[in-house]
Symmetry: C2
Subunit: 249 residues, 2 copies
């Protein structure tokens, strides 16, 4: 029987700036008696990566600019939050009805440039990791050394999307895994050439992991076992559609 | 240990118009000795639903209109294919560099209005099912009666998305499952109210299933075991963002 297993790693403690995520995750793996093997994929939420690396801002320390004050008054939001969002943005894609869709400095397009106040102490917000592919690489190297198995690591966040309601988990940092399965030029089961099929496997893995993470439970890490043909080099940057190919910028 | 399992149902025969999908899937479950329980989610590709219900078009039978001829010459595509795409579209969202992004009559926004020539006999294309929620309901009722377990059913297809490369599997037909987990008004683990978090669980389940389906293998059905809090009423229509709330129409 061909199957995947997705394990939610429960019981991790609250993460604070300076914490060693590799140790926390490895301790969780041992405590929950998860049998880790070569090829397993560790999916880690952005929130704990941002917290551990100190990517948190106390809103009381933020001095909003005039433009942030102006925008905030129009959308009835905290001007200090708008200021943080603007600082994290390379470009505002849309601003309408209190929703800001921005392109981050990494090139991700998401609500509020990834600035988020959930699962953070009151009065604070988290920013996306500054270099999430590098963070994924460090966690992968640490877990591989500590656990003795060659694993891949994804850092994930929940993003909204046009046309469809609800957010889905996507990959914002990748190490040890090919983010796209490229079937262009292959033949399908009927022998027909597939013209343009590229599957965003890293995003599908992130979405699969979210199913055991939820938003209210403290399950910031999932382990996916049984994935095939995924190992290789790659970065979340590979998932960003180049501007000149994008019809919805 | 809290975990999900995703099983790929291999060895299903080619599907032809008029085939009984419930029988084919139930036979596959027995042949592969899958232990089906209440709450299991069956994810079924659009392709076999469209084939079984005869939603196939032989391009040789299509008479392209003048507008299809005109568009086809500009994007270097088969005018008969463009004609079929136009017939399936309620609205063209973008047409650029040979790519047509269209809103289907169901309200889905996707490339080529879901018209697809892969995994179909040469010279044919499939259309999306006409009423995929109804198809999901019929399959669910059939499987529940045949297998004796209360299951949920998703019909899925791979859709591209703006800003990110690659396609991901999403739900286009749903029965027996709540498509969205609505955390609005809930408190997170820090006691902070979550303002706007709705997770598109049905799409994440579809993406998870794709990981065992692939594009080249004949695995048109996946079974997801261990999902919690998902049972209920819902339709894929619930996942369509209303036009007046959509900033990217």
């Amino acid at each position: 029987m061909f199957s995947l297993q997705i394990i939610g790693l429960r019981g991790l403690p609250d993460v604070s700036p300076g914490d060693n995520l590799v140790s926390l995750i490895a301790d969780g793996v041992r405590r929950e008696s998860v049998d880790v093997n070569d090829g397993d994929v560790f999916v880690v939420t952005q929130k704990i990566v941002s917290k551990a690396s100190g990517r948190m801002v106390r809103l009381a320390d933020v001095e909003p600019s005039a433009i942030a004050e102006d925008w905030a008054s129009r959308v009835e939001k905290d001007p200090r939050l708008i200021e943080v969002i603007l600082r994290e943005s390379a470009r505002i894609v849309r601003m309408d009805r209190g929703i800001i869709v921005a392109e981050t400095k990494h090139g991700f397009v998401c609500a509020n440039a990834g600035v988020d106040g959930s699962n953070v102490p009151g009065g604070y917000v988290t920013l996306l990791p500054e270099h999430p592919d590098d963070d994924a690489c460090k966690i992968r190297e640490g877990l591989t050394a500590t656990l003795g198995s060659r694993v891949a690591v994804l850092i994930c966040d929940t993003f909204g999307r046009p046309w469809r309601l609800g957010q889905v988990n996507v990959a914002i940092g990748i190490s040890g895994l090919k983010p796209l399965a490229d079937y262009r030029g292959s033949r399908d089961a009927s022998g027909v050439f597939l013209q343009s099929t590229m599957i965003a496997v890293a995003d599908e893995l992130a979405s699969a992991a979210e199913l055991v993470m939820g938003k209210l439970h403290r399950v910031p890490v999932a382990i996916i076992k049984g994935v095939v043909d995924h190992e290789g080099e790659g970065a979340a940057h590979d998932l960003i559609r180049p501007g000149h190919e994008d019809m919805f910028r």
